[in-house]
Symmetry: D2
Subunit: 345 residues, 4 copies
């Protein structure tokens, strides 16, 4: 039983974060200081997003040992939006192999806006975390199955990753997204012309409508910080859910999605975020943001006001303070830090 | 004495690579298998590069404890070429602060060719590892000093990083580089027009000639794998040279240059290299390549035949095999690898 | 009766081409020499185009006086394809005013491929002769009417321009075009997102399908060289059909479409064609090409094999020889030609 | 004697503008109405331009018969600046042949800013009227001669075109231009790298400095409206100066430069100007603008305040009114104008 393992490890003081109490107290200080921010605007292109309160602020942590810690509105539901792109990739790559998937999608930042209509020099979308790439990844989900079965397959996978936490579906968001999808239709017709989709994709026979429906449905999956942190921790843990200890994803697809989240996960802020924070992360327009500290923990942050690049203002502020306090940056020197106050928790 | 420390650590079995013999044997196997490659072309735009033998193949490792291991032509001299961009950045950022430096240079991949004439949306070069950015960084080296003093300052710094290893100067390469510098002049005049250089730079008063001379001189610094591995290990070790244990660079500039090498260090292959190998690296047109395993070791690889993106063919092949054998990828899962044969040395 | 006018002018020797016999003999020589060409490929993206014979070669001339001359397959039917863009513009601009039309479409070459997905700095299509601009122009055709009435309105206008010549509809071409329309759908969704269509357009309420149907239907209008030459002559004559002497188009819209045909009428060959031939022209993928000698005559050329830029090989060759023989280039010196053999017919 | 010819033609009423008095009165009305404009800014990047009075406003007309008419500050001197690009092209093309010249320069609008660093798909500058193209054209001026002889050759040619009018040299402007030439140096080094200059050019042996000096010297040629109108009339007249009746330029190069001025002569306003005014024109940053009515006349306009695209505000306003009054637009319908008030002078 995972629970037993956790107790056993605790007794032997072998947890990944040994001084948990001290750690969570520092997290709480950071969390509180971010609450005061008034920056950013709640997304308004569909009413379901516009109605979110700008004051909402939740956070949840789940370590690879299964230790958990939550603050604020950590049980408030939201839609995954673009965060689904990361999990869709990891699920599909685990199913069909990274190698097959990347015959249709690249793995580099595009140097362009996230929804710009352009392909790389191989006529593929630049990476699976921009809209074009995510739509192609969606088309690889069980392409011979019925739409209902395809959605069902993914929902079950998400629930596995979440170790039993809440993963629902927000139909109103789905319907609104579908109605404001001009750019995604433009992108998709453009890719259809260039035959960017796999040959077996239903796109060529049945048209784009159903594929885009599935894409929007996965954007409209609903969860909360408590659950999203577990899902992020599964990525941190090589694909094994820390709560269920079940193998949900391949280890290589986890490594790959972390590479991609590091370089492309935060829209047009990705390069700066990688430089300053140095952690794989993915944000969504609902104000959700997941952050992965590889081999240590997953973090979920939720606050609707977004900065100009579309990332949660409080979420980004939290990450920057986190990296000021702890040596979590990819390239922090562990033995010889300049700032000796920086903590290795 | 560092030597004493190394012995003491060895006795207590606290070295960063505990089973050194086994590790070096595996490295040797990889090294030998790469020797057979016949791919790539030796750079030919200046005679000094064209004359390099395509059979040359050397490698050297230096851990942060100061353990060393070399194979092949590890004592053969070469010019640092673009690898100097990484050290120039780390030296200048340690002198004037990352924050000041980045008022003039960005920190993101450009999504363009490494020598394309373009600036980012702030009218700055995209990052310090493309030519434009490296030229601006050069202009920040002691701008009020004489050219001789500026070069001398840098040479001393390089020798410190190298812990006493050979760092020389190849004048013939310098003179040839200067003669084939049309693109760099074009870039520099373009940046001068946009006032991309700091106000105190000599560029505005004295013109571009001397600044570009200094830039080419630093490209023409000469070293070998044995020494370059020590320099890379200094970056791996937060700026402290593992041989001399002297603090040569700030810890933050080391972290920053590793971030930049990770995302932009391998020319137009950077994105793919980050995805596949997941380690900070920087290559030069002479066939040199340094790779950093943060908090563990520095590696120098030297073989002149280059692939189409300008990276050493044998160097890249070595890295790919390295990451197949060992869990050195940034995002390898340490607890739950798919491939249980992968080694944590 | 126009016929009477023609006779009367002839008797008074006031025709625009006084020595008609000599002129037509020279035209015949040019026509024959172009027949031998074996260059180019018949368009093959839809079967209706692929089935056209590469040997077909027809030509027809109609002067503003109504003098006519035809050679070869001048009665063979073809679809107007992109040539319809020119007439659609002239008809719509005559209906609603150039000024209103150009609130939604620019009037400059784009410097890009004709079907590239991009808008100008005002977020408008660059001009009415690229696909994006032509689709927006189509949306301005009687936007409040039913689809049947809109098509009918245009068909009647085309028949007026043609002075009673054959203008039919090729339904098979329409259906095929609609089935290979990915790029046009991509362009249209992109423009819909940017609200490039007028507010009263049916695009926002009813979607893009019907608008694009109308666009493809106008591309599928069927005519032959004899008739197309009359339509071109109407443009040459300030909007008055030389056969019927009926005012069909405003004089200003005629001037404007000639400007646009001059700079943008020959796809990516437009700049070179303007420089070399110096006449307004518009080509279509069926192999049709109309050329206008302002205030003098309209010419229609039809031969299916296309060069790489999508223009009829024989059509372009004919124009280049025409301009070698006659001083029809926009900027030919009338008084002081270098080549005194050049004829002012 | 040309003078005799003019008198003889006048007596026979065979002048190109029969009712001269009426015509000049209407021109005067237009001229006066433009004087009131307060728009635009005098160029200020060098002091010699900044010192020009914003109130200066001059105009001069010269017909191909040699009839002349001037208003306002028509004798005030200014530098030709970019207007020299048009004459340089016509002179060089007459010397070496259009065909040879266009092996190194294209003939199409670039769709980019006039000084952007880019080449066309053949690695040539897009056309001879953007800076890059003009610099390449300059390098073809008597490449084997000394700099003094090359300048002298051009000065003599300019004076011939001018039929004896004043063509001087403003050394202060030359020296200032040279000092603010970063972009032109950037462009030139870029083109040198791509070997855009002819092999025999001195650029490869002696460097760029002298070539750019010649380019700036030709920009610094000094003249006034009276003389510039004669030079423009020479272009209108197939290369024969209407005052001296001397053949100065080939007829084909005249046709070609008119084509280029039509499509590329007014910087980034070229497309709109062609559409609205429909006449070949070239402007310079001093506020000069020449306009050619082919086979009829040349017009010079001079007023320093420039609009955002770098064209003289009063100059452009004059042209727009001119085309409202007279049927000079390239594509005006001569027989069937909408606006019957439009005059055929």
């Amino acid at each position: 039983f995972p629970c037993t393992i956790l107790i056993s490890r605790t007794l032997r003081n072998q947890l990944i974060i040994p001084s948990w109490l001290e750690f969570t107290q520092m997290i709480e200080t950071i969390f509180d200081s971010c609450r005061e921010s008034n920056e950013g605007e709640v997304a308004s292109y569909i009413p379901q997003l516009a109605r979110q309160s700008p004051h909402t602020w939740g956070m949840s942590i789940c370590t690879i040992d299964g230790q958990r810690f939550s603050l604020g509105d950590s049980k408030k539901n939201f839609c995954l939006q673009s965060v689904s792109k990361a999990f869709n990739y990891a699920i599909v790559a685990s199913e069909i192999g990274s190698h097959v998937l990347h015959q249709y999608v690249g793995h580099e930042p595009s140097g362009r806006l996230f929804n710009e209509i352009c392909l790389d020099s191989n006529n593929m979308p630049h990476n699976p975390l921009i809209n074009a790439g995510a739509i192609v990844v969606t088309s690889m989900i069980k392409p011979t199955h019925s739409m209902a079965d395809r959605f069902d397959f993914m929902l079950k996978k998400y629930r596995k990753l979440a170790g039993g936490g809440h993963v629902g579906f927000d139909n109103a968001t789905f319907l609104s997204e579908r109605d404001t999808a001009d750019r995604n239709y433009a992108l998709s017709y453009y890719m259809k012309e260039y035959r960017c989709f796999p040959d077996e994709s239903q796109v060529y026979e049945k048209g784009l409508r159903e594929e885009l429906d599935l894409y929007f449905q996965l954007c409209s999956l609903e969860t909360n910080c408590d659950t999203a942190a577990v899902m992020a921790a599964t990525l941190a843990n090589g694909g094994i859910c820390p709560l269920s200890t079940e193998k949900c994803l391949g280890s290589r697809p986890c490594r790959d999605i972390l590479s991609l989240m590091y370089s492309c996960g935060m829209y047009d802020y990705s390069g700066k975020f990688a430089f300053q924070v140095g952690l794989p992360a993915k944000s969504g327009v609902s104000g959700i943001m997941i952050v992965v500290i590889p081999n240590v923990m997953g973090i979920a942050l939720y606050s609707p006001p977004l900065d100009k690049t579309g990332n949660s203002c409080r979420g980004v502020a939290f990450c920057r303070q986190l990296i000021d306090k702890f040596n979590f940056h990819n390239y922090d020197s562990l033995l010889h830090p300049d700032d000796s106050r920086k903590i290795d928790p």
